[in-house]
Amino acid sequence: MKELKGFLQRSEVKAKDDVHRETIMKAVVSLDTAAAQTKSMQFDDWQQARQEAAKIKDYALANLPDLLEQFEQKISARGAKVLWAENVEQARTYFMDIVRERNAKKVVKSKSMITEEIELNEFLEHAGIEVLESDLGELIVQVANEKPYHIITPAIHKTKEDIAKIFHERLGAPLTDSPQELTMFARAHLRKAYLSADIGITGANFLIADRGAIVMTENEGNGRLTMACPPVHVVFCGIEKVLPRMADLSLFLPLLATSATGQQISCYNSITAGPRQSGEPDGPEQMYVILVDNGRSDLYAKATFRHSLRCIRCGACLNACPVYRTVGGHTYNTAYQGPIGSVITPHLRGLAKWGHLSSASSLCGSCTDVCPVNIDLHHLLLKNRAEANKADKGNKTWAAGMKSWAYIMSDRKKLQRFRRLGRLGEPLLPILLSGDKRQRVPAMAKKSFAELWEENEQSR
């Protein structure tokens, strides 16, 4: 109930905030337009491409345990260590063990959604470890002391004036709202961090089973620096991210870039298959891959919902969603916002607390239309609603209301009788609904369609 209430309160505020609306709309429309252009520019047949991608992911899911073992075996052979975390605590503990072993004080981090999911930054700061976000968008939200607003562009809600102010006040940057100068300030600010950090953390967009490698997509180069400079490289990754073959990247990289940012392919796609090998000029001495389950295997066991694990986190469904566009990212209060967040969060973190997200949708289907791996998002939201209602036995009013509705709708005579009753009670309606100022009660028609029809028939 607390989450539901919070969601409603925050939506109320954001929906009425014109500056917020303008900032978000500008950004998502520019992302949407770029994606649409690149789709038609580079893909012969986008529908066919995404069907093929869905098939490859379905194969990977159908063979998930085998492919994970193959990945582990191949990458371990090159000296990387694979650790399996069942839950948040275990994932954090593994990391703290590495921190202790290395006596690490400073950590540099590139963008990763799963570390948001396990709230690693907060945890490490409590433990007295300095964590520096190196992706520009992540740095902005970190310095602003906020959570990411969007899975692809974390600072999508900040204007350049906001960023100028935060950088000036908190990092001592010269006051300027030029995106060019702000970016160069961040570049200089982070340079030293890569070279002095004890550990570099990255996420992974894909795990490649046949090579035993992790793949990371980015545009800025902070991820490359994070994997090249510090003596230890730690990767956090969800267990569902597997692709069977390295060659599958030739479809998935353009697919992801197109949907995420409207690029043909992202600027840097790095394939990392281990720590520095003997004879290699540089690279980390140690590499760890922490594979995180945290509810995914439960979701995996549910046949209806399993295919939501195809998600490649491109963010297109957020951009397309009228609810996300109106209420913004923080309103969800989850690591994954928008339609995909509303689909998976109740399964990963509990229906009782997060079931309400299933209703944060207009069911317009825009999310399903844009998804590059064909996830049937809006139908899954409906199925979530059904599950949430089944589970929510406490809501007697809702159940009774739905039962009466079914009774009335079962027979047109009943419906007509109810209508007549309704007209008698009409003056009462505004009073009954006065709790919600946004709802205006429309006047009922004097005569129903059926009544008009009858009259018309008789007068012929």
């Binding site: 194969y59 399996w84 961040a186 180069g221 030739s250 992202s266 995996y300």
Partner: protein
Amino acid sequence: MNSRDKILQKLRSGMPQSQTEELPLQPDGNYFKDLREGAVDELISQFAEKLRALSGEFFVAENEKEAASLLLEIFDTIDDGACLAQPHESIARVLALNEKLADRFEMLPGELDGDLFAEYAAGLSTVDFLIARTGSIVLRNIGAGGRRLSVLPPVHIALAWQNQIVPSLDAALQAELITDSEWSYATIISGPSRTADIQKNLVLGAHGPKQLIVVLIKKDR
């Protein structure tokens, strides 16, 4: 049971009963409209067009001698700091072709402190592949002087030969050089570093190189 086995067992018990999923064939670039097969010149012109559209710079040299003088011109445009070159025999060969180049670069030593990179304005490396369809270059750390040379200095210069160009990414990823060699790091680079994190404004040179310059020699390596 340890957590690894627990997770795997949980997945195995939740796996779909009937394993009908078949693995689709290797991707072959057939989804793409802008895929060009054919003569090397056509691939080069597509590569040039795509790389320039990404704000990368592209030069063609008829032979290695011409490439050496092109490199001299390029070094002249880069402000302060020498160039750090990958100690690859093909790079050494090209650099030796113009004596004016001698004091303009240094060879990457076997051991180099991260801090020392700061003194260099550019990194010069070879590549493994050029991808015509997307204007990308593909590097493995063992073929390109490691992980840092192509990302730490503000300018990355890549020297390539014409037989390294392939129509699309799948050709590179399925080539023996990638599948059969042992390397710990490979990267597909498409243009200089960029960001659009501030209100969707495009800025080049976020954390990686601000400039990417590809010099293609119209000879086989």
